[in-house]
């Protein structure tokens, strides 16, 4: 016969097991830091111009936030007093790889939230997975408007405006300055961002100036490197304007190959994402090129304590002025921080006053515990917060998609550096569709459509 364990012993054993199992849970509840998954290109063509500056910005921002050195309203250390801990992942390798990397981040690394993604394709793939795994995920840089226009998400946010704004503002700027343009050409990469950029630009200019003629639209593959035939086709089409959302090594290769072939002698080049290259290709950007920074970032940002904060911490880390991806990273971190701290403040504010409940200690612990993810999300929706590039409003995509104003300017090569002059600012509501209307419908309606 098996000897039965004495009830007292059994209870002790059970308690020990429960304690052993429960210990990690209890420890997890006493949160000592916030783990942030940060995904950015560390290799491949997007690493140099975007990915690595983004990582440098993220590291410098986290150091500064943890030290409590950010200006108002972000003086609280870390986020809500808890220090941030970065887990950096390489975005290279395509959407399928990124989905499994994301699962690892969330399920094995158990990050509290994820900030990341430069590639539009990666964002489109990650959004449904974030929803499935119920993990707060903030896209900091990808541009495609389709994310919140074709679906709606609870856990996904994007703290930078989508690419429609770039195209609409580029067209407004072009027509403000060169109303006589007639022949339009484009060269954009054949993937989500390049196609969206071109489609929005083409649609906008056709609405604002229906008599323009699209003479050619070149769609080289991403990373093509060789643009000889495209340059011939562009030159042969004899356009007044060449629109391009090329970026990274592709933009540099295109500029290096096009310049000696006199492609830009007779037309205006519009580089919607041109800002990061002003310092890299000073002698290769023709005078009079229209450039944007995908928002009021970098050269376009007005002076403010937050801009000086970002500039100083980035310069100390990277040795150069922050480019627009660094600004986008700041938006993401400050957005989560603003939402988190607002949620924390709300909890404390709505806690039951002392004495009203028997267990005051428990009530206080609850009120001062870090907010839950759901509480942070509730505050993040429709949030308006300050950033180094000005006010960001989470007003599209049911409060999950940011809008800001934007700016464009014209380049001039002076004493070995490229200066941006004739800067024009466009307010958010002029260059972004209203809530509930898809970008393309809004543009095609002559910017009049409103939600049904």
């Amino acid at each position: 016969m098996i000897k039965a364990m004495k009830p007292s012993r059994l209870a002790a054993a059970a308690t020990a097991i429960v304690l052993a199992l429960g210990a990690p849970v209890l420890m997890a509840q006493q949160k000592t830091s916030i783990k942030v998954g940060f995904v950015t290109f560390l290799s491949g063509p997007a690493a140099g111009p975007f990915g690595v500056p983004a990582r440098q910005a993220a590291e410098a921002i986290v150091e500064s936030l943890n030290a409590g050195k950010a200006p108002a309203p972000y003086q609280i250390k870390g986020i809500g007093g808890l220090p941030l801990e970065l887990v950096v992942i390489d975005e290279a390798g395509g959407a399928t790889k990124q989905v499994s990397e994301y699962r690892t981040l969330v399920q094995r690394q158990e990050v509290d939230f994820v900030i990341g993604y430069i590639g539009s394709g990666d964002c489109l793939a990650i959004a449904p997975v974030a929803e499935e795994l119920k993990k707060l995920t903030v896209f900091f840089d990808c541009g495609t408007p389709r994310i919140f226009e074709e679906a709606s998400y609870k856990y996904v946010f994007r703290t930078r405006p989508h690419a429609t704004m770039d195209a609409v503002a580029a067209t407004l700027y072009l027509l403000d300055n060169r109303p006589a343009v007639k022949r339009i050409a484009g060269i954009n990469q054949n993937y989500a961002y390049g196609q969206d950029s071109w489609n929005d630009f083409e649609a906008t200019i056709k609405v604002l100036k229906p008599e323009v003629e699209i003479v050619t639209s070149q769609m080289p593959k991403f990373g093509a490197g060789q643009y000889g035939a495209e340059i011939s086709a562009l030159a042969g089409a004899n356009p007044d304007v060449i629109h391009s959302s090329l970026w990274g090594g592709d933009l540099e290769a295109f500029m290096l190959q096009a310049q000696p072939r006199d492609l830009f002698k007779k037309n205006i080049l519009v580089l919607v994402a041109g800002e990061p290259y002003l310092h890299r290709l000073p002698g290769k950007i023709p005078d009079g090129t229209v450039v944007g920074a995908r928002g009021v970032n970098a050269v376009f940002a007005a002076d403010s304590p937050l801009k000086r904060w970002l500039t100083d911490l980035y310069k100390a880390k990277a040795g150069i002025e922050p480019n627009y991806p660094a600004y986008s990273v700041a938006n993401a971190f400050l957005g989560v921080k603003a939402a988190w701290e607002k949620a924390a403040a709300k909890k404390v504010g709505s806690a039951i006053p002392m004495g009203a409940n028997k267990n005051v200690k428990e009530e206080m612990e609850k009120a001062y515990a870090p907010p839950t993810q759901e509480e942070v999300i509730a505050m993040f929706e429709k949030l308006s917060f300050d950033t180094p590039s000005g006010k960001v409003q989470m007003s599209l995509g049911k409060g999950h998609q940011a809008v800001t104003g934007t700016a464009y300017g014209t380049t001039r090569f002076e004493n070995g550096v490229v200066k941006v002059g004739n800067i024009k600012y466009y307010p958010a509501e002029r260059v972004n569709p209203p809530e509930g209307v898809s970008s393309l419908d809004w543009i095609k309606s002559g910017f009049r459509a409103t939600a049904k």
């Binding site: 540099e252 290096l256 000696p260």
Partner: protein, 298 residues
């Protein structure tokens, strides 16, 4: 204005570029039966070395024309160092293995070299554009082309003719052809197969690096550039028939023409054009245009 001259000119330039890269790949496959995925990395190594050497040369204020010598030197250095090191240090231990194993080995090597490049040169794109514009321009049908593109075309012709001559009209070339035809029989007849492999791989590596070095002044040299190139080069080689030099030349010309026509007439098809040709060729001739009848070995 007719676009045909521009289509042809762009096709010739692109085909020349493709040929220089693809011919090394097909040579190595023809002789060694290794589909060398690391060919893309050798191309990237050539480009990075070229940027470093030519950039350094120009930064020192030496005669700009000397930068062309630096491009050639970069290709030679990569070919003569990386080629022998890879062949002697790795591949020679694996010749008895299956072709698939060797594909995996060269793929692993490709990944290692990609990371080695990142460690050495970082991830910031690099460029040295001076050699591209230095020689001035010329015009075809109203379009401006840099004279440098002629260097590329000349390099492709020289490489093609040199290989054709060396294989067909020299003693060692004939021995090489014998190895291509039947490795075991050649070895039995006294051909030093090991040496043949060594020389072939070194030449192949040099050609990959030469492609990279000649391309470097026209592009921004970035990490991952090797992956893009190996895919296109592979398509060219498959169209022509794996292991055939004439096939590589014809494949490059066909791909160049189709791509150039697509860009000029139907730009949205450009992405697909190369694979369309590949699919069409493989349907008609599954082993590529220049593949001969295969001897079945028992």
């Amino acid at each position: 204005m007719s676009q045909i001259p521009a289509v042809l000119a762009d096709a010739v330039v692109y085909a020349s570029w493709l040929f220089v890269i693809a011919v090394g790949l097909t040579l190595i496959y023809g002789v060694m039966k290794i589909l060398n995925i690391a060919h893309g990395s050798l191309y990237a190594l050539g480009a990075y070395s070229a940027v470093t050497l030519a950039g350094g040369w120009l930064a020192k204020g030496y005669a700009p024309l000397g930068s062309y010598a630096m491009l050639a030197l970069a290709a030679l250095l990569v070919g003569l160092i990386a080629g022998p090191v890879i062949e002697r240090g790795l591949l020679r231990f694996l010749y008895a293995k299956d072709e698939i194993v060797l594909v995996l080995v060269t793929y692993a090597l490709f990944l290692i070299l990609e990371d080695a490049i990142k460690l050495t040169w970082g991830v910031d794109p690099m460029f040295v554009a001076e050699p591209y514009a230095l020689l001035g321009n010329f015009e075809i049908a109203g379009l401006t082309y840099p004279t440098y593109t002629l260097v590329l075309v000349a390099a492709a012709i020289v490489v093609g003719l040199a290989l054709w001559w060396a294989l067909g009209f020299t003693r060692s070339g004939k021995m090489l052809l014998a190895v291509i035809h039947d490795r075991e029989m050649s070895a039995a007849m006294g051909v030093n197969v090991g040496l043949t492999y060594f020389v072939t791989f070194t030449i192949g590596a040099f050609l990959a690096a030469l492609g990279g070095a000649l391309t470097a002044p026209t592009i921004s040299v970035v990490t991952g550039m090797g992956a893009e190139v190996i895919v296109t080069a592979f398509a060219v080689v498959v169209i022509g028939g794996l292991g055939s030099l004439g096939g590589a030349a014809l494949g490059a010309v066909i791909v160049g023409l189709v791509r150039s026509a697509a860009v000029h007439y139907q730009p949205e098809l450009e992405l697909f054009s190369i694979y369309l040709v590949m699919a069409a060729v493989l349907i008609a001739r599954p082993k590529g245009l220049f593949s001969g009848a295969e001897v079945r070995k028992i």
